[in-house]
Symmetry: C2
Subunit: 229 residues, 2 copies
């Protein structure tokens, strides 16, 4: 059975990726991060999801991205609310965490090397990507090339390491449809950048807006609670 590292945030995208990797027959090692994000509810979701899918191992790496600051997700910078998609597309938003996917993939690479996995799955998406540079296909291709030069495994093994991005070309609606076809229960997932104290989604941050639009596009109702819903 082929081993795969799945980067699992506990959100809609990464949960779909996990279900996809399982369906493809991979033995899954999931990796989540506590990186000082203001919303810790997604980590609780990640734990439940990992348990539900009975994966081989789930590790949570603590990495202090607050050390550098610079993002609304880790700092006392306000999360933008009620933006149109045009506004989201206009510039890289303040919710961008500097080098986040690069750091996450690098931990995934270390994990892959230790367990002998040749596959890393990440739920990046270049369509509804909120303007993050590290969600683009050219970035992923460059990362994969670097990763194969970086590691003992890449140097010694015949089989090259691959970064899998099954969602990269899909709209949010297409991602949700893919997950529903795989039997994903999206009620387990967590997306909001700025939930209330009991973990209900705000419904108006960029992440909520894209999620709600995804369900609306399919004519489906989202299973999670929204404070303003």
């Amino acid at each position: 059975m082929k081993k795969a590292i799945v980067l699992l945030s506990g959100g809609l995208d990464s949960t779909t990726v996990l279900a996809h990797a399982k369906k493809q027959g991979y033995e899954v090692y999931a990796l989540s991060f506590y990186y000082g994000q203001r919303h810790q509810f997604e980590l609780e979701a990640a734990k439940k999801i990992a348990q539900y899918y009975q994966i081989t191992e789930h590790k949570i790496a603590t990495i202090d991205l607050r050390l550098f600051g610079g993002s609304a997700l880790t700092d006392e910078i306000a999360v933008p609310k009620g933006r149109s998609e045009a506004e989201m597309d206009a510039a890289i938003p303040v919710t961008y965490v500097p080098a986040r996917n690069t750091i996450f993939l690098s931990f995934g690479l270390a994990y892959a090397e230790v367990v002998g996995a040749k596959n890393i799955f990440i739920g990046v998406n270049a369509v509804d990507y909120s303007g993050y540079p590290d969600c683009r296909p050219e970035y992923i291709a460059a990362y994969e090339k670097m990763a194969n030069l970086a590691t003992k495994a890449g140097v010694e093994a015949a089989e090259q390491l691959r970064i899998h991005t099954p969602l990269i070309d899909l709209t949010k609606s297409e991602i949700i449809q893919m997950g529903l076809d795989l039997g994903v229960d999206y009620g387990m997932t967590f997306t909001c950048y700025d939930p209330d104290t009991i973990g209900r989604a705000c419904g108006v941050c960029d992440a909520c807006i894209l999620r709600l639009k995804g369900f609306a596009g399919l004519g489906k109702k989202d299973a999670i609670d929204y404070t303003n819903g």
Copy 2:
């Protein structure tokens, strides 16, 4: 004044790189890591060195590489002793920490993005490199390419981010000569993989052997204490 991130372990190589970056006129932001290494003396050395060079800022990122295991530097795996250089060159050693430079550079990239630095200095070396894959020029070139696709800075700015590796083609003796010409006090630096409880170098791990050979090649005496010296 151009800003630079310098990855500073507190060892001989990274201290030489710091002195070099200062001499070149960069405003230096140093970044060190506590990654569960068995020897914390090098972090103490890094703090002293950062202070000595009166750099703009010194951050220490805590990253739990023990989470994955797989290296003699972070696990209860024995550090090899008394090996010949042929033995060191024969295979990637157990002191290799999976994806370490990739993780370190990724944190450097986040730091660079936050302070607006376009330069990252790292003391990797492909000559006396102890067989680590992530010390080779082709790895660094691939990392630089990826980094420019990864970041807001790379996307929005005209000036590309550069990974500087001033030591990459130098022997250990040449590195030490470079440092001596820059006025580096190598008595402040720390190199050993397996020091005693008061921080004296063992003299027989791969790192000590390469360091001692470097000084011997110049006909100089190393200023630090060795338990077997």
